[in-house]
């Protein structure tokens, strides 16, 4: 029996963001935007979906005079990501 893939993670941009955040402590908005190649609007919407799901936290602050948005993965996010990867492996392994 295949485990269903988490719909919150099975989207290209949200999965890219989670993959970036899983290997670092925190990343700012501009870094995520640059590495994913997404538009600011789209990225913002997808980040909010991940935050609403409890997978990441978003912190807004100022660096000098510039606003800074910092994202961190949560424990629930790490667990969901690991479950997603394990589910993917089971799909690919049983092909």
């Amino acid at each position: 029996m295949f485990k269903p893939l988490d719909p919150l993670l099975h989207s290209e941009l949200r999965l890219a963001v989670m993959s970036l955040l899983i290997s670092v402590q925190e990343a700012d908005f501009s870094f995520l935007k640059e590495k994913t190649g997404a538009t600011a609007g789209n990225l913002s919407v997808q980040l909010n979906k991940l935050a609403e799901g409890g997978y990441i936290t978003i912190e807004k602050s100022f660096k000098g005079n510039y606003p800074q948005t910092t994202c961190r993965i949560t424990k629930a996010g790490i667990k969901a990501f690991e479950d997603y990867v394990n589910a993917l492996k089971s799909y690919i392994g049983k092909k």
Binding site: S19, L20, E26, F31, E34, K35, K63, V85
Partner: protein, 196 residues
Amino acid sequence: MAQEKQMTHEESLELIQSMINTARHKVADDGFHLILWGVLVIICSLLNYFFFQAGYGNWSGLPWLFMPVVGVPAGIIYERSFRRSAGIRTVVDTNIKYLWWSYGVALFLVLFYSGSIQVSPVPYILMITGMVTFASGLMLRFRPMMAGGVVFFILTLACLWVQPVDQLLLEALGVFLGYIIPGIILRRLSKSQADV
């Protein structure tokens, strides 16, 4: 990147792998603090040396008191206002920061202790500076910093054959090789990453 593009399972795994590799190879340190403190230590070492040679005795160590007065605010102002963010912070970056904070405490204790028993602090400073520089280089996998740490260790031993006042010149040399050069290389590396 499309918002809700349907991915195959293989595409999902490839995406995860490529994004993890992207973040892993990023160096967050820009070398500013190595260069700042390196320059300050060299200035203070040389002033201390020349004041001692000029016959100022115990007063010749006075420049060291001004080093944290300049270095700490300059470091804080740079971090808060001028530093171009690398965009990420890794566990390694955080560990290195804690390591240098611990070094600051150890350095204060060395200065306090050596002042109390009237011995030259330089060999002990070189020793703990070598340790923290070498460990940081290992954690960053940055060979110039590891080499800098080795230079500090060698100069620690060299102090055995050098008069206490001349040890100040070894300290200036060590900091040039162990802080300034790795700092400049790190800064260039950081800028070239940012320009990609």
